[in-house]
Symmetry: C2
Subunit: 205 residues, 2 copies
């Protein structure tokens, strides 16, 4: 109840904002303290250490992504849902590079990690987006993983300047969405079950 009246929530929110500006890796206790107008050691009243702070940012970001995705998926299905899903995630990655990096490069601390819960919610949304394609249960886990991989990879490459902007990345992104959409449709129409590949039973993540 003293001076600045900061809460853990405030501190993490400020850290998230700062991470977007200077980069998640460059997020520092000193910089954050300065931003909040307090001295560095005072931060330890709100977070146990830098790792905790970063983990908090990751959780907050993943939660936010989950909410945005859930909202945008309302009333959409099939290709429409896929486009909305991927577009939302890419958009988030571009507007909040630091937070996106946090959300996807932070290791889980255990089975009860709130970050895991937040991630699960996002995965549930991906699963929901795929529902309209009528994909076999056995393929669902793999399809989800494929989509997650693609999104993360795209965000990573773009952030690292992975491709040198010959055609705009955005165009490739749209191309990729179409590529995936066609693949999923083909999957659904059951043209040929995914051959040779073992099928899964458990719709885990």
């Amino acid at each position: 109840m003293p001076r600045a009246g900061l809460s853990r929530r405030d501190v993490i929110a400020a850290a998230a904002e700062l991470a977007d500006e200077v980069g998640f890796q460059q997020l520092t206790m000193g910089l954050l303290a300065q931003r909040l107008g307090i001295r560095t050691p005072s931060l330890y009243k709100h977070v146990t250490d830098l790792a905790d702070l970063k983990h908090g940012v990751a959780t907050q970001a993943m939660t936010e992504v989950g909410e945005e995705v859930r909202d945008v998926l309302q009333g959409r299905s099939g290709r429409d849902a896929l486009t909305a899903l991927l577009g939302t995630m890419r958009s988030y990655a571009m507007t909040h590079p630091g937070q996106y990096a946090a959300a996807n490069s932070t290791r889980l601390t255990g089975p009860d990690d709130p970050l895991l819960a937040a991630s699960s919610r996002v995965i549930d949304s991906i699963s929901a987006a795929l529902r309209g394609y009528g994909i076999a249960d056995a393929d669902m886990v793999h399809a989800i993983r494929t989509i997650r991989s693609t999104i993360h990879g795209f965000a990573l490459l773009q952030e690292t300047d992975g491709f040198q902007w010959s055609p705009e990345p955005g165009i490739s992104f749209d191309w990729m969405i179409e590529f995936i959409d066609r693949g999923l449709q083909a999957l659904a129409s059951g043209a040929a079950p995914m051959s040779g590949v073992a099928r899964a039973q458990d719709p885990g993540d």
Copy 2:
């Protein structure tokens, strides 16, 4: 030519090995010096600073990946080439996590960066692997980017414990390869040109 007789090459090689053991982020001057049996400041006779060291590791790794991929692609085409390509990269990522992370998270220093040259060689190999599919020039850049995104994303997720191992990631990986293979085949057979999506002219990266 005194005592240990180390060269820049030796130092970077040791750093790469160390990175695989402790993680690229955890690679430290002190740890490396200890590993080499010299004092920390002595490292500065071989690299200008930590950033230079890490950049060197990245370049070495990317070069090695490029060679492995080029070799394994000899005499293969189509799905066979795609499987070999992706399999090789995933295998590299799994056996050399630190180096893989280095290669794909290091920013280029400029247009004459040797890391850029090494990356370009890898991209050329991906391009070669795709050649057998008879993909339209206009689609090539996007296809390459899609594949890179997928590989990197998969490696990233697996490393971060992104998926909780319900079915083994390897199975999903195989599934993903098949998914992409089918998509590329469909593309080639020109069923329908990628609609709505702008086409590229320049086969950049």
